[in-house]
């Protein structure tokens, strides 16, 4: 046998080239990822479910006509446009108010001679206010017609409502970058934290340290799998958003790729810190939630930051999700060139570097 004659110190070169070790580790870890249904669910399906949910919630108001209950005879509604008003009649005011309380209509209207009395919905104040606004606009239109007929040639002022961004900024345009940023954040944080806890349990890293492949090759392969996953996640998400929900993609959309990669690095670093602290998988999941939930709420991903209180707006500058969201929105939705998002890129890069440094310094490699 060959090994019996090993008395001369000839050391066989058993170490595989780095590239080959990287590829086999990448393949092994990638396969493992694809077969882990919970990972696939969290990364791909959960953000899509959020998009369906949020776009239906935000999309339901605004488009539809105000539902009006006409009590008795209401002549002013005769000139109403059917696109703006969906008119039903009620026998008396009490009955109409009862229906309003149940949310069956947005406003009730009574006309007493020259006076139009509007009762907006108490249950849904937003749609009630919209209905009331629509009704007074209708009354104004009627008045203008009357005045113009009485004094022809006298100029009258008119308002025309024009939607911002040419009407293209529908809810999906606002929501899609936010949900994508959130999806990237949770798959990065939860993925890294869970993986570290798994390694603590099954000692895989320990075993790999004793192979000729280096630990850095292994970690590189693991991070690469996560980066490829993030790109795939982004492609699937944007494709579904564009084809299924009418998201209009700008010419700069491809620049979402480097943004998502940078974001993933930052979120992986957060996950490594959490994985270093947590002892069990439920612990890691809980801590990840504790970090990602506030991060998402103060990022402006789900509702505009301008609507939030001052202190939330201040805190939001600390959330990496804010910068990823802003950058994605700029390039994907508004079609701004990458130079416009340089500040966001700079913050994400600094954030990723700082957290990676913290995780490196606090991590107890002995536990792996």
């Amino acid at each position: 046998m060959a090994r019996m004659s090993l008395d001369t110190e000839t050391i066989p070169d058993t170490a595989p080239p780095k590239g080959r070790a990287f590829l086999s580790l990448f393949k092994a870890l990638g396969r493992g990822w694809l077969r882990d249904r919970s990972q696939v669910f969290f990364t791909i399906l959960l953000p899509l479910m959020f998009m369906v949910l949020l776009s239906s919630v935000f999309g339901s108001t605004g488009d539809s006509a105000s539902r009006i209950l006409a009590v008795g005879d209401v002549p002013v509604l005769e000139g109403a446009d059917a696109d703006d008003f969906d008119v039903a009649s009620a026998p008396d005011l009490d009955k109409a108010l009862a229906l309003l309380r149940e949310g069956e209509a947005d406003a009730a209207v009574v006309q007493d001679g020259d006076t139009v009395l509007v009762y907006p919905s108490p249950t849904s104040s937003t749609s009630g206010a919209i209905a009331a606004g629509n009704l007074s606009a209708l009354v104004d239109d009627v008045n203008v017609e009357v005045l113009s007929a009485a004094a022809p040639g006298e100029p009258v002022l008119r308002t025309e409502v024009e939607e911002a961004d040419g009407g293209s900024l529908r809810p999906i345009q606002y929501l899609a970058p936010g949900i994508l940023a959130w999806g990237i954040a949770i798959s990065g944080v939860f993925g890294a934290a869970g993986t570290i806890v798994d390694w603590k349990r099954d000692k895989l890293l320990r075993r790999l340290r004793l192979t000729p492949a280096s630990v850095s090759t292994f970690l590189g392969a693991k991070v690469s799998v996560n980066l490829v996953v993030a790109i795939a996640q982004t492609a699937v998400f944007l494709a579904v958003a564009a084809l299924g929900f009418g998201l209009e993609l700008s010419a700069w959309t491809w620049f979402a790729a480097p943004l998502v990669l940078l974001g993933t690095l930052a979120f992986l670093a957060i996950g490594v810190v959490i994985g270093g602290i947590a002892k069990t998988s439920p612990g890691a999941a809980g801590l990840s939630n504790l970090v990602t939930m506030p991060m998402a709420f103060i990022s402006g991903a789900f509702f505009p930051l301008a609507l939030s209180p001052e202190w939330v707006q201040t805190l939001s500058y600390l959330s990496p999700m804010r910068y990823l969201n802003e950058a994605l929105q700029s390039v994907v939705v508004y079609g701004e060139p990458p130079t416009a998002v340089l500040p966001q890129i700079g913050f994400l890069a600094v954030f990723a570097a700082v957290v990676a440094l913290i995780s490196w310094k606090t991590f107890k490699f002995d536990e792996l």
Partner: protein, 305 residues
């Protein structure tokens, strides 16, 4: 030629918040020759695994030196790790991969061929489970796969850390055959175990470890011989008269109750011949001293595996 392993005066102390200072390894030295089957035997918590982890290069000792195949295991070098195979206590596998994919990945990491991976699965008897996911394998199958991963790089030196712990007796015997075969191929094998009979059955030499120290190193037979303990011969009661019992005991210790008579003799051949000629062999049991007695003798404590 260098020894397979040379360890000199290893020390490692853990400082826990609640446990205080624990001297896990307290001045351990030993030497393992090439081709030897070396066992480290001791109860749980004796410091076996920490010693092994230091020798493998997973942990750094507070002081002391380790030479593996003539080199230091620290810092890690692919030249050395490529010649050493390791099976750790926890089965460290890539999640969601089949046995075959697992061994192939390890084969690639060691720069070995795909066929070598398949051969190793065959060797450990997992060829028909090649497509089963690792987490679905039984405990014994996982241990064997983990040993296959340790062997795939064709190592000169193999470390096995309690490979038979938590296995049923049949699975344990199967693994013994496998370990013997690995050693018979010329590989040096270092085994830790807390099973006396395992060390006796497999090892050329055994180090008895307790409380962070190696108490004695010898071959199992050498240990027992050095103990100079009597052989206990038991037969069923009612075959011998009280007089004859005293005569056969010839001044050595004997005890009798309603069911058995137990002789403790230093000349078992003579006693057994006499019992045979008396036709008094019913219920015969002969028990020579074993490593359990050695442990008691060496540490002054009863074995508590």
């Amino acid at each position: 030629m260098d020894a397979a392993i040379e360890v000199a005066d290893l020390r490692k102390t853990y400082r826990g918040r609640r446990t205080g200072e624990v001297r896990a390894v307290d001045g351990v030295s030993f030497r393992v020759e090439r081709g030897e089957f070396f066992g480290i035997l001791g109860p749980n918590g004796a410091g076996k695994t920490t010693t092994l982890e230091i020798v493998e290069g997973l942990r750094r000792p507070d002081s002391g030196t380790v030479r593996l195949l003539g080199r230091s295991p620290w810092p890690h070098s692919p030249e050395l790790t490529g010649r050493v195979g390791v099976q750790l206590q926890a089965s460290a596998f890539f999640e969601f991969l089949s046995a075959e994919e697992q061994i192939e990945t390890f084969a690639e990491l060691y720069g070995a061929s795909k066929t070598r991976g398949a051969e190793m699965l065959e060797l450990v008897g997992l060829a028909e489970h090649a497509n089963v996911r690792c987490e679905k394998l039984s405990g014994g199958q996982q241990q064997r796969l983990s040993i296959a991963c340790a062997l795939v790089g064709d190592p000169e030196l193999v470390f096995l850390d309690e490979p038979t712990a938590a296995l049923d007796p049949q699975a344990r015997r199967n693994l013994w055959d496998l370990m013997r075969a690995i050693n018979a191929e010329g590989r040096t094998v270092v085994l830790t175990t807390h099973y006396m009979e395992e060390a006796e059955a497999l090892c050329d030499r055994v180090a008895i470890m307790d409380a962070g120290k190696i108490r004695a190193v010898d071959s199992p037979a050498g240990f027992v011989k050095g103990l100079d303990a009597p052989t206990r011969v038991t037969v069923a009661a009612g075959q011998l008269t009280g007089e004859r019992i005293d005569e056969l005991a010839a001044g050595e210790a004997v005890s009798a109750d309603e069911t058995t008579v137990v002789f403790e003799t230093r000349d078992p051949r003579k006693l057994l011949t006499a019992l045979a000629s008396d036709g008094a062999l019913e219920g015969l049991a002969v028990r020579t001293a074993n490593l359990e007695d050695v442990f008691l003798h060496v540490t002054g404590r009863e074995w508590r595996a």
